[in-house]
């Protein structure tokens, strides 16, 4: 009886391990690519040299063979369906994993800024100024790169209607910062479409 239970437990473990590996090798859905690119865009809004930092981090983390130059990095991000110039097709899992790692490391570096946006202990005026600055920079980047005819872009640009989505993006970045956030954000980007 114990042997049978042990065999069942081992089989269940094998099945869950296989499911985990299968999930890890699955490419991100379009909605996940959209959110990943928007989160990278938020980091660029927080860090004026964010684009350069991404390229540097890509080399520093050993993703040179995947993204040999900034154009290759940009081409992967252009799979976001909200982009002005949108690429079709899937991005292979190793490349999206590399982008997620870059996101987590950048969020870790910029964590103090993310935290200051989320903190309720600072005076209201100061917090509002920070959000206004972030929103302005993000809106500039969105106007420059995204397709303004898409309703998702219009909503994100709207000061009132897009506030919730911007807060969710910043909160997501704060919760995925560092090594521990990789699995969390990857699982979230793999979510089904509601």
């Amino acid at each position: 009886m114990d042997d049978a239970a042990g065999i069942i437990a081992v089989m269940a473990k094998d099945t869950s391990e296989a499911a985990r590996q299968e999930r890890a090798s699955r490419p991100l859905p379009r909605r996940g690519l959209e959110r990943l690119d928007l989160m990278l865009l938020c980091l660029e809004a927080l860090d004026l040299n964010g684009g350069e930092a991404m390229v540097w981090l890509s080399e520093h983390l050993g993703y040179g063979p995947l993204f040999p130059n900034r154009v290759e990095l940009w081409k992967r991000r252009c799979h976001n369906p909200l982009r002005r110039i949108c690429r079709r097709g899937e991005v292979p899992a190793p490349e999206t994993d590399a982008l997620i790692r870059i996101l987590c490391v950048m969020a870790d570096r910029l964590y103090p800024m993310l935290r200051s946006l989320l903190s309720s202990s600072d005076p209201e005026e100061m917090a509002q100024e920070r959000w206004d600055l972030f929103q302005r920079r993000l809106a500039d980047l969105i106007r420059e790169r995204m397709n303004p005819r898409r309703s998702g872009v219009q909503k994100l640009l709207d000061p009132q209607e897009g506030a919730g989505q911007r807060l969710q993006l910043v909160q997501g970045l704060s919760l995925c910062a560092g090594n521990g956030g990789f699995e969390r954000i990857k699982a979230s980007l793999m979510d089904a479409v509601a």
Partner: protein
């Protein structure tokens, strides 16, 4: 006794609003070295301007088992309560904004402690828990559920119930009103009965002069 004191390990993880301190010993029975922490003897979580939390390994694991899945769901925009049956920690959205962390003491007659955290404090808590579970010096398994992608049903929870029900209820109402209006329409007039057949001799022949 001297050897035990020398082997005692302390891991400290700092963030702006909180500090997690874990005390323990290496488990020499399985050959762990002096810098490893294989047995947790106690832990403390200090918050700025809040009561000190402390407990045993089980409490730390219970804290991880609810806080980390809650954070994972928040990234997807799903805000719901997390608790494990029989465990002393609950977490969920606070009705007035922020997050509600509820800690139940194992001491009798001690009321549960409720803490309200803002988004920054929650992120700090998640970071110290991440730093602890990924620290190579911690060499004991802390069971934490693996983050999983959410299904459509779970994602629906982020949309308030009244908004979820608006479309189907509106559709049903429109259908009912349309059906009622159709029922109010008068039935179409009956077509006139066919006239009796005319004898063939009286029929005019096409093309013949009248």
């Amino acid at each position: 006794m001297i050897q035990s004191a020398a082997m005692k390990q302390r891991l400290v993880f700092d963030q702006l609003s909180c500090r997690l301190q874990v005390d323990g010993l290496p488990d020499v029975s399985i050959g762990q070295s002096g810098t490893a922490l294989g047995i947790i003897t106690g832990w403390q979580l200090q918050w700025v301007g809040r009561p000190l939390l402390e407990g045993r390994r089980e409490h730390l694991q219970a804290l991880m088992q609810v806080v980390l899945p809650y954070a994972r769901h928040l990234i997807s925009g799903v805000r719901r309560d997390f608790s494990v049956a029989g465990e002393p920690v609950d977490i969920g959205p606070h009705p007035e904004g922020g997050h509600r962390l509820l800690l139940r003491s194992s001491q009798p007659d001690t009321p549960p402690l409720e803490m309200r955290l803002d988004d920054a404090e929650l992120a700090d808590l998640v970071r110290v828990l991440d730093l602890l579970r990924l620290d190579p010096r911690l060499q004991l398994p802390l069971k934490v559920p693996d983050p999983e992608p959410l299904g459509p049903r779970e994602l629906m929870e982020r949309i308030p119930l009244h908004r979820r029900l608006t479309a189907p209820l509106g559709g049903a109402a429109v259908l009912a009103v349309s059906a009622a209006l159709v029922l109010l329409l008068p039935p179409p007039a009956r077509p006139p009965l066919p006239s009796p057949a005319v004898p063939a001799s009286q029929e005019s022949v096409p093309g013949s002069p009248r």
